[in-house]
C-alpha cells in the first residue's frame, strides 16, 4: 500500500514568544512565526506556494500570503478538530501536496491569542449563550462545558478500571515541567514542580487538579515542508516525515466525552499503520511527544499507540522514564502544552525537529526517531519523524 512515508521533510521551524498577552494581532503572530520558519529553512516568501492551517485558526491564508509577500499560492487547505487534527494533520496535508507536485514548499502553522482572548475565546471558560443546540444540548444544560470537565469523567473511569491514581497522572505533569525548567522560552521556566505540588494544586473537576491541565497561551508557531530532493539544498539537515496519519471514528459522538472502554479509538486507527509505514516499532522511538491538553489523556494516548498495554500506563510513566536525561523515553522535551506553551501542539513539532537536528536543549543522545501524537479524545493526527541518515 502507498503511504506518505519518506516523501517529504520538515526544513524550517519558527515561533514567536509564548505569553499571556501578546499585545498584537493573530495575523501579526502568524506572519512572524511563518516568516521565521521560512528564514530558518533558508528560503524566502517567494519560494513558498502552499499554506495549511487548523480549521479553527482565525487567520486566512490569503491574508498571510499578502502580508508576507507570497506571490503565488498554489495550494491551501485546512484540517478540522482543533488540537486533534491540526498538529500533525496540517503537516500530513502539506507533505501530500509537495509529494504529489501540487506545491513546492508549504507552511503549516498555528497562531492565536487564546490566553488574552484578543481574537480567540479561552477554552477554559464557558460561553454564556442563553441556549445551545445539537450535541451540546445534551451536556451544557447540566453544567458540563469545558474539556477539563469532560476529561475528568474519563479520568475517573480509567482510575476505576485500571487502578490508576492521580499521582500517576502527576508524573506526566512533572516530566513536562522538568523539561520546561531547562527551557528559558517556556512559560513555566523557573517554576519547578514536584508530585507534592501537583497533588496540592486546587481541584478543577475532580479528579482533575489544576496542574493536570495545560496552559493557555498567546503566540504563533510554524514549520516548512518540502520534498527530500529540494531539502538537500537548504540550510539545515532535513528531518524526514517517516509516516503520518489522521484518525477518527464513530464512537466519540459526544465529542471529547471519551469512552475509555472502546476497543478502538481515534489513536488506534492511526497506530494500526503508523509504525508499519515507517518500518519501525514503538521500541525504536527515542523521544516521545504526546499532546498534553490533560495528563489522563496523555496516559491514554501512550497506551493506545502501543507503548504499553491499556491499563499499564500508570506503571509506564513512573520511575522517571519520561524525564530527560536519564529517562528511557523523554516526553515533550521543551515542556509541552502543560509547561512550555499551549500552541496547540505545534510547539511539540518544532521541538521534535530540533531533537532530530541535534539542537534541542534537552538533547536526547543519538535520537533517530521522534513520535508525535496530537490531541486525543477528538479525531486526531500523529506522525513519526526520522533523523536524516537514520
Amino acid at each position: 500500500m502507498q503511504s506518505i512515508a519518506n516523501k517529504a521533510c520538515i526544513v524550517g521551524v519558527g515561533h514567536t514568544e509564548y505569553s499571556k498577552d501578546s499585545g498584537r494581532s493573530e495575523l501579526k503572530l502568524a506572519t512572524e512565526a511563518i516568516g521565521t520558519a521560512i528564514a530558518d529553512a533558508g528560503l524566502s516568501p517567494v519560494d513558498i506556494d502552499g499554506i495549511t492551517k487548523y480549521t479553527m485558526d482565525n487567520n486566512d491564508p490569503i491574508d498571510i500570503a499578502r502580508n508576507l509577500g507570497i506571490p503565488r499560492l498554489r495550494f491551501f487547505g485546512e484540517v478540522a478538530y482543533g488540537g486533534g487534527g491540526g498538529p500533525c494533520g496540517t503537516i500530513l496535508m502539506a507533505a501530500m501536496a509537495v509529494a504529489t507536485g501540487q506545491a513546492k514548499a508549504v507552511v503549516a502553522f498555528r497562531a492565536m491569542n487564546e490566553r488574552s482572548g484578543r481574537g480567540t475565546a479561552r477554552f477554559g471558560q464557558a460561553p454564556t449563550d442563553e441556549s445551545v443546540t445539537g450535541v451540546k444540548s445534551y451536556m451544557s444544560p447540566y453544567g458540563l462545558f469545558s474539556p477539563a470537565q469532560m476529561v475528568a469523567l474519563a479520568a475517573r473511569r480509567h482510575m476505576h478500571l485500571y487502578g490508576t491514581e492521580s499521582k500517576h497522572f502527576g508524573e506526566i505533569a512533572v516530566a513536562c515541567r522538568h523539561h520546561a525548567n531547562m527551557n528559558p522560552d517556556a512559560m513555566m521556566y523557573g517554576r519547578p514542580m514536584t508530585i507534592e505540588d501537583h497533588q496540592a494544586s486546587r481541584m478543577i473537576a475532580d479528579p482533575l487538579h489544576l496542574l493536570d491541565c495545560c496552559l493557555e497561551t498567546d503566540g504563533g508557531a510554524a514549520v516548512v515542508i518540502t520534498t527530500p530532493d529540494r531539502a538537500r539544498d537548504l540550510k539545515h539537515v532535513p528531518v524526514h516525515i517517516a509516516s503520518a496519519g489522521l484518525g477518527g471514528g464513530a464512537w466519540n459522538h459526544l465529542h471529547i466525552l471519551k469512552d475509555v472502554e472502546a476497543p478502538h479509538t481515534e489513536s488506534t486507527v492511526i497506530a494500526d499503520h503508523l509504525f508499519g509505514d515507517a518500518g519501525i516499532t514503538q521500541a525504536d522511538i527515542d523521544v516521545l511527544f504526546v499532546y498534553d491538553h490533560f495528563t489522563p489523556l496523555v496516559m491514554m494516548a501512550i497506551e493506545d499507540y502501543g507503548f504499553c498495554k491499556r491499563g499499564e500506563g500508570k506503571d509506564f510513566v513512573g520511575n522517571g522514564r519520561l524525564r530527560w536525561p536519564d529517562g528511557e523515553l523523554p516526553l515533550n522535551t521543551s515542556g509541552g502544552n502543560l509547561s512550555h506553551g499551549y500552541m496547540h501542539g505545534m510547539q511539540n513539532n518544532i521541538e521534535a525537529v530540533r531533537q532530530l537536528r541535534g539542537t534541542a536543549r534537552c538533547q536526547v543522545k543519538d535520537a533517530d526517531f521522534a513520535f508525535i501524537a496530537a490531541g486525543n479524545a477528538v479525531p486526531t493526527s500523529a506522525m513519526i519523524l526520522r533523523r536524516d541518515g537514520a
Binding site: 444544560p141 453544567g143 470537565q149 469523567l153
Partner: protein, 149 residues
C-alpha cells in the same frame, strides 16, 4: 451570535431541539424519558440520530424508558467557569448507563447527593443504581436528571 451581559446570565444554557430531537425534549416536559428504538434491529440509540447507529436503518419509534440506570462515572465540579455555576458548585455531573441496553449512556446531573465543598462525595459509587427525575430549567424546559435509589 448573541453576547449577553455575563452578569445577567444566571442559568446554564437551555436546549433548543435540533431537527429530529423535538420529541425527546417534549417527552421530558411530560416527565417521560424516551429514546429512538430502531424498527429494524430494535436497538436504542442516543443522542437522537437520523439513522440507526447499529444497523443503518432510518425507521424508528420513540420508546419510553424505565428511567433506571447505573452510574458509569462522575465528576464533582467545584470550580465555576460559568456565571450560573457560582451559585451551584459543588455540583455533580454523571454518566448514566440505562438499564434497557448495555452501552446506552447519557450525561446528566446527580441531584440530592451528599457533596462537600471540597468535592468529596462519599455516597457516590461506581454502578450505583439511579432513577430519573425531571427538573425544570428556568426557561421552562424540564431536564432529565438522576437521583441515587
Amino acid at each position: 451570535m448573541s453576547t449577553p451581559d455575563v452578569k445577567s446570565v444566571l442559568a446554564f444554557p437551555y436546549p433548543v431541539p435540533e431537527v429530529g430531537a423535538e420529541d425527546y425534549w417534549q417527552a421530558a416536559n411530560d416527565e417521560r424519558l424516551v429514546m429512538q428504538k430502531c424498527d429494524a434491529c430494535a436497538k436504542l440509540r442516543f443522542t437522537p440520530a437520523p439513522i440507526c447507529t447499529h444497523c443503518g436503518d432510518d425507521q424508528f419509534t420513540w420508546a419510553e424508558l424505565s428511567g433506571k440506570g447505573k452510574i458509569i462515572t462522575w465528576t464533582v465540579i467545584t470550580h465555576p467557569i460559568h456565571p450560573a455555576a457560582v451559585a451551584k458548585v459543588p455540583y455533580v455531573v454523571v454518566v448514566v448507563e440505562l438499564d434497557e441496553q448495555p452501552g446506552l449512556r447519557m450525561v446528566s446531573n446527580l441531584i440530592d447527593a451528599e457533596v462537600g465543598e471540597d468535592g468529596s462525595a462519599p455516597t457516590i459509587t461506581f454502578y450505583a443504581a439511579v432513577s430519573v427525575a425531571f427538573e425544570p430549567h428556568p426557561s421552562g424546559q424540564k431536564l432529565p436528571m438522576f437521583r441515587l435509589v
